[in-house]
C-alpha cells in the first residue's frame, strides 16, 4: 500500500509539470493551428473553471456573475493593449475618451491590470451582494452580469458599444495561456489548503456554525469572490487576445452557464474535477462537430444535420448528470497515492481495504 509522501508527491508533481511543458513545446512545432487553438482554449477554460470553482464549489456561494468579471477583464486588457491608431480607426461611432485613447501598455502589464481592476470591482460588489444568500445571491449576481453587459453596450466612448473592440494583437499563445493556467491552479490549490481555504469550506458547510467558531464569514466570502474575480479577469484578457476581438455579446449569461456546466460536471468543489471537465468539454464540443458532417453509417448515407451538435450536447449533458450525479470527481482531489495505488503493483483488493 502506497501512502502519502510529501517529498515524493512534490517530485512527481514537478515531473508532471515538466512533462506538460515538454508536450506543449512539442505541440507548438508539430500540431496544426486548429489543434493549438483548442489547446489554448482549454488552458483559458481551466483558469476560468478553477477560479469559478473557488467561489461556487469551495466557498459554496452560488454566484452567476462570472460573465461580468470576464467582460471587465477582457475590456480592461483590450483597451490598454490596443494601439492608438487602431483606436482612432475602429471607434467610428464616438471617439474614445481622452486618457484611454493614448495609452498603450505591454501585454503582461495589461493582464495584471485586468486582474487587479476585476478584483477591485468584485470587492465593491461583494459589499452589498453578500448580504443575501443562496438562490437570492444567484439572482443578484446574475443581475450584476446583465448590468455590466448593458453598460458595455451603452458607454460607447470607452467600449465602442456593440461594435466591440477589434484588431487586438494575437498575444495569447500556448505559453501564455498554459503558463497562467499552471500559475492559477498552483495559487488556488495553495489557497484551498491554507487556513483560509478551510474557513471557506466551513462557511460552505454551515455558515452559522462557522461564525460561531469565530470565522468572519463575510470576510471569507469576499476573499473567495475577489480571488476568483482576479483570475477570471486575467482569463478574460487572455481570451480577448486569443480571438483578437471582443464585444458585449460575447459575455452573456450563456457564458456563465457554460462555466457552471463545466464545474458541476467536474464535481462541484473539486479543483481536479474542474480541470478535467474543462478539458473534456472544450475538446468535446469541438469533437462533436463530426455529427454535422456527412458520413456513411452502415451503408446509410447520413448527410449531416446542421444544429445536431447542440442537440447531442444537451442530451449528453443530461445523461452525464443522471449517471454521474456528483460529477466526475465528486469532491475528491487528485492524489498521487491514489493514482499509484491504482496502477501500482498492489492488488486491487488490498487497495480497497485501505
Amino acid at each position: 500500500m502506497v501512502k502519502e509522501n510529501p517529498t515524493r508527491d512534490k517530485l512527481l508533481t514537478y515531473m508532471a509539470v515538466a512533462a506538460l511543458l515538454i508536450f506543449l513545446w512539442y505541440a507548438e512545432s508539430h500540431f496544426s493551428q486548429y489543434s493549438l487553438r483548442i489547446i489554448n482554449n482549454i488552458g483559458i477554460f481551466i483558469v476560468l473553471a478553477v477560479s469559478y470553482n473557488l467561489i461556487n464549489g469551495i466557498a459554496g456561494q452560488f454566484s452567476l456573475g462570472t460573465n461580468a468579471f470576464l467582460a471587465v477583464g477582457a475590456y480592461t486588457s483590450a483597451i490598454f493593449t490596443l494601439s492608438p491608431e487602431e483606436k482612432i480607426r475602429s471607434f467610428i461611432i464616438e471617439p474614445m475618451i481622452w486618457p484611454l485613447s493614448e495609452i498603450s501598455l505591454s501585454f503582461p502589464l495589461s493582464l495584471l491590470l485586468a486582474g487587479v481592476v476585476t478584483a477591485l470591482i468584485a470587492l465593491l460588489v461583494a459589499l452589498p451582494v453578500f448580504r443575501v444568500r443562496g438562490d437570492y445571491l444567484a439572482i443578484v449576481t446574475l443581475g450584476f452580469g446583465e448590468v455590466v453587459q448593458v453598460v458595455a453596450n451603452n458607454v460607447v466612448s470607452v467600449t465602442n458599444g456593440p461594435l466591440g473592440i477589434k484588431g487586438l494583437a494575437p498575444h495569447t499563445n500556448i505559453w501564455w495561456s498554459w503558463g497562467i493556467c499552471i500559475f492559477t491552479v498552483y495559487c488556488v490549490v495553495r489557497l484551498i489548503n491554507s487556513s483560509y481555504g478551510r474557513a471557506m469550506k466551513a462557511v460552505r458547510e454551515d455558515e452559522t456554525a462557522a461564525e460561531a467558531m469565530g470565522i468572519n464569514a463575510f470576510r471569507i466570502k469576499t476573499l473567495a469572490f475577489t480571488c476568483s474575480a482576479f483570475f477570471q479577469g486575467v482569463a478574460g484578457g487572455l481570451l480577448a487576445h486569443l480571438i483578437t476581438t471582443i464585444s458585449p455579446s460575447l459575455f452573456t449569461f450563456m457564458l456563465t452557464f457554460n462555466l457552471l456546466i463545466i464545474i458541476v460536471i467536474g464535481g462541484l468543489g473539486s479543483t481536479t474535477g474542474a480541470v478535467l471537465s474543462a478539458i473534456l468539454i472544450t475538446w468535446g464540443s469541438e469533437a462533436l462537430r463530426i455529427v454535422e458532417e456527412p458520413f456513411t453509417f452502415f451503408g446509410y448515407d447520413y448527410s449531416g444535420i446542421p444544429g445536431m451538435r447542440m442537440v447531442l450536447f444537451s442530451i449528453i449533458l443530461i445523461l452525464v448528470m443522471l449517471f454521474a450525479r456528483r460529477g466526475i470527481m465528486g469532491r475528491n482531489e487528485f492524489k498521487w497515492s491514489v493514482l499509484l495505488n491504482r496502477f501500482g503493483r498492489q492488488s486491487k483488493s488490498e487497495a480497497r481495504t485501505s
Binding site: 443575501v132 448590468v147 458541476v264 462541484l268 442530451i315 449533458l317 443530461i318 448528470m321
Partner: protein, 295 residues
C-alpha cells in the same frame, strides 16, 4: 406628463407585468416544492406557442381547442421532463438538478431549431382578442383585458388548489419537509408530477397570451421571458405564489415606466430594472413576500 399618458403607460406596464407574473407563478411553484430553479420553464412557453400554432395553422382546429391542446400537451411535457430529468436525481445535490434543467432548456431550444427552423413564424390571433377600446385619450387593448383577467383567474385557481385541496396541502407540506411527508404515506412523486403539470400549464397559458401580444414564434422566444419570470419570482419571494404575481407586476411596470418617464435611459432599461431588484433584495433579503427558508 399628463394623466392620460400616465394611465396609458400603467396599462401597458400591467399587461407586460401580468405576462411575467403568469410565468413566474409556475417558476415559483416548482421551486417551492423542489427547491429547483427550473431553467427549462421559459422554454415551455415556446413549446406551447408552437403547439397552439400548429394546432391552428396545420390542423386548422378552432382556437379554443388549440389553446386547450397546447395547455394539455405542455402540461404533459412538464411531467415528462420531471420524470426523465429531475426525478432520478432527487436525492442528489440541488446543483445537479440545476444542470439537468439547463440541459433540458438547451435540448428544447435546439430541437425546435433543428426540426422547425429558426425563422420566426406569425401567430394567428383569433378575432376575439384583437382591437382596443378607447376611453377618452386612453386606449385599452382587448388583449390587455384578457391578459389581466386570465392572470387573475389562474392565480385564484392556483391559490385555491394550494390552500383548499388535499393535494395542495401535500404541496405545502412538501415544501417544508420532503422526507417527513414521504414517511406520512403521501405519494411524493405524484404530488411533484402534479406540481409540474400545473406549473407547465400556467407556462402554456402564458405562452399563448405572450404570442398573441407579440405574434412572432421562434425557438429562443422563451429565454428572455423565462429570465424575467425568474427575476419576478425571486423579487416576490421565491416559493410564494402571490409574491410571484406581485414581482411580475413590479418588473413589468418598472420596465415600461423607466422608458416612459426617461426615454434617454431606455438603453439602460434592463440595468435599471436589475438595480431596482438588487435594491429590493438588499432591503428584504428574501423577497417581498418570502419567508426565510430552511437551508
Amino acid at each position: 406628463m399628463d394623466i392620460g399618458f400616465a394611465t396609458q403607460q400603467i396599462i401597458y406596464g400591467l399587461t407586460v407585468g401580468c405576462l411575467y407574473g403568469l410565468l413566474a407563478i409556475g417558476y415559483t411553484m416548482v421551486y417551492g416544492v423542489l427547491r429547483l430553479i427550473n431553467f427549462a420553464h421559459g422554454d415551455l412557453l415556446m413549446v406551447s406557442a408552437y403547439v397552439a400554432f400548429f394546432g391552428i395553422v396545420i390542423f386548422s382546429f378552432p382556437w379554443p381547442l388549440a389553446f386547450a391542446g397546447a395547455a394539455l400537451i405542455t402540461g404533459f411535457i412538464g411531467i415528462l421532463i420531471d420524470r426523465g430529468a429531475y426525478k432520478p436525481i432527487r436525492k442528489s445535490p440541488r446543483i445537479s438538478a440545476l444542470i439537468t434543467a439547463i440541459g433540458v432548456s438547451f435540448l428544447l431550444e435546439n430541437l425546435a431549431l433543428v426540426i422547425i427552423g429558426g425563422r420566426p413564424k406569425p401567430f394567428p390571433i383569433p378575432m376575439l382578442f384583437e382591437g382596443s377600446l378607447s376611453v377618452g385619450q386612453v386606449k385599452l387593448p382587448i388583449l390587455s383585458i384578457w391578459v389581466l383577467a386570465v392572470t387573475t383567474v389562474l392565480l385564484m385557481i392556483v391559490l385555491a388548489i394550494i390552500n383548499k385541496t388535499r393535494i395542495g396541502m401535500a404541496m405545502r407540506a412538501l415544501s417544508r419537509d420532503m422526507e417527513t411527508v414521504s414517511l406520512m404515506g403521501i405519494d411524493v412523486n405524484r404530488v411533484i408530477s402534479f406540481t409540474f403539470a400545473l406549473g407547465s400549464m400556467l407556462a402554456a397559458f402564458g405562452g399563448v397570451m405572450w404570442c398573441m401580444k407579440y405574434p412572432a414564434i421562434e425557438p429562443f422566444m422563451g429565454v428572455i421571458p423565462g429570465l424575467k419570470a425568474f427575476v419576478a419570482a425571486v423579487l416576490g419571494g421565491i416559493g410564494n405564489v402571490t409574491g410571484a404575481a406581485i414581482g411580475g407586476l413590479i418588473l413589468g411596470l418598472a420596465e415600461v415606466l423607466i422608458v416612459a418617464v426617461q426615454p434617454d435611459w431606455s438603453g439602460y432599461r434592463d440595468a435599471i430594472a436589475f438595480c431596482i431588484m438588487i435594491f429590493i433584495l438588499l432591503t428584504r433579503p428574501t423577497g417581498i413576500m418570502g419567508q426565510k427558508l430552511p437551508d
